[in-house]
Symmetry: C2
Subunit: 234 residues, 2 copies
Amino acid sequence: MTPRRARGAPQDDARPLTEPVEDYLKAIYAIEQSGEAAGTSDLATRLEIAPASVSGMVRRLADQGLVSYERYRGVRLTDAGRRAALRTIRRHRVIESYLAKALGYAWDRVHAEAERLEHAASDELVDRMAEAIGEPLTDPHGDPIPTRDGVIDETRHQRLSDLAAGQRSRVKRVSDDDGELLRYLAQIGIRPGVMVTVAERAPFDGPLSLRIGKVTVQVGPVLASRVMVELLPD
Amino acid sequence: MTPRRARGAPQDDARPLTEPVEDYLKAIYAIEQSGEAAGTSDLATRLEIAPASVSGMVRRLADQGLVSYERYRGVRLTDAGRRAALRTIRRHRVIESYLAKALGYAWDRVHAEAERLEHAASDELVDRMAEAIGEPLTDPHGDPIPTRDGVIDETRHQRLSDLAAGQRSRVKRVSDDDGELLRYLAQIGIRPGVMVTVAERAPFDGPLSLRIGKVTVQVGPVLASRVMVELLPD
DNA sequence: AACCCGATTTAGTTTATCCTAAACCGGTCC
DNA sequence: GGACCGGTTTAGGATAAACTAAATCGGGTT
C-alpha cells in the first residue's frame, strides 16, 4: 500500500505521465510514422474518443511540452514527446514479447494485456524481461523494439497489398491490434519471417492469390494491406 | 491502442473496480485482519490520504455494496468486498512471487512493483505466472496467497516481540512494505522458514537478543514486532 | 466574392478522487 | 452534567479527462 496522490490532488511537482497521456503519445507517434502531422480526428478515431475531447487533451500535451500544436493544423511530437512515446512503445513491445516467449501467450492475446501493463511496468521490470528472453529486436508481430536509449529501427516496409503479381517477399510485420486478424494470419501461416509470393491479383483492389510455402491462399486487399513485407530480389 | 472510456465519461454499465477502490479494499482487509472494523483514520494513515477524503470514498464503496458503513462507526467488508479484496491480494502476491522467482528481483523491491502491476494484470496473466513458478502458497515475505476461488489461510501468528526469553520459533512472515526493514532482515538472516530463538530480552520493551543459526543479534522491539513467528515446542 | 461543408474548436457538464477548513459527535474529566 | 478533545464528517474547491451541442474555420464551388 503505497501513496496515492493523484486525480484531484493540488499538483505540486513533476509527476509521471498519466495513462491517457501515454496513449495519446503512442497514437501520435503511430500516425506520424505513416504520414505527416496527426490530425484531431485521426487521433480521435485511433483512440476511440470524441474529437472534441482530443482538442482539449492536445492543448494539455502542448502545455507539458510534449507536442507542438497549432489550432486547426494538427499536432507533432516534440523531442521530449517522442522520447516519452518510445519509452512507452518499448515497454509495450518488450512486454508482448515476454508474454509470448516466457509465459506461452498466443500472439493474438499479447496486445491487450500489454496495453494495460505498459503503463504500470517500471523500466527495471521491462529491462529484466528483455534480458530474460534474450533482448529481442522485434515483438511477436515484427514491430521493432526501441532500445533503452530510445533508438528504433524506422525502416518503412511496403504493404503486401502493393506488390504486383509474381513478386516474392518476406513478411516483416503484421498489424498487432486485431486479434481476429492475427488468428487468421496464424492459421494461413503468415507471420514475420515467412516468405510470401503474390501468385496473381485481380484488378481494382480485388483479392490476391498468395503462395505461402506450398499452399496458395486467397486474401482480400484489406487483409493484405495489414501485412508489411520486404521485397525480395527475383 | 484500445478504448479509453473512463474518468469523465457518462457511465453506462458495470465497469471494473478502479485502482483507488482496489487499494481501499486491500487496506480495509488488512485492518480487519489485525483488529476489528476499520476506522476512517486507520485507513487514512495506511493509504496516506487525508481522513476527509476517506469519508467520501467509503460512502461510495458502500453505495457499490463493497462495504457496510455506519457514520462514525467505521467500515466492514461485505462478502462482495472481501472477494474483491482477495482477488487483488492474490494478484499482488502472485506477482511478488513471480518477480522474485522468475525475474530475480530482490525481496525488498517486489512490493513496489507489484503494487502497480496488481491493478493492470489480468487473471489469466496471474494464473500463468503462478503456474510458471509452481503455484506458490506464500509470497516472498511469507504472506499466504489466496487461491483462484478466494480461499486464504488466515492463521494468526504471534509477533516475535511477544516471545519471552528462551522461546524458540520459526519465522512465518515479515511485513512487506518497508524496503529498508527488508534489507536489514535479509542481512541478519531473518526470512520465512528460519528458526529464531529469543536469547534474552530487556524489560520495558527494550531490545531483544536473538539467536539465528549460530549468530546472535540485538534488535529493537519495533523491528521485532514486524516479524511474525510460530512458537516451537521446547 | 459569397457560400457551404466537413473538420475543429469552444462552451458547458459529468465523474472520480483528492484537498483544506469548518462543523460535529461521542465519550472522558472534573 | 457541562466542557473539552480527538476522530469524523460535511462543505466547498481543484484536477484530469470524457462527453454533447453549438460555434467557427478553411478550403473548394459556383
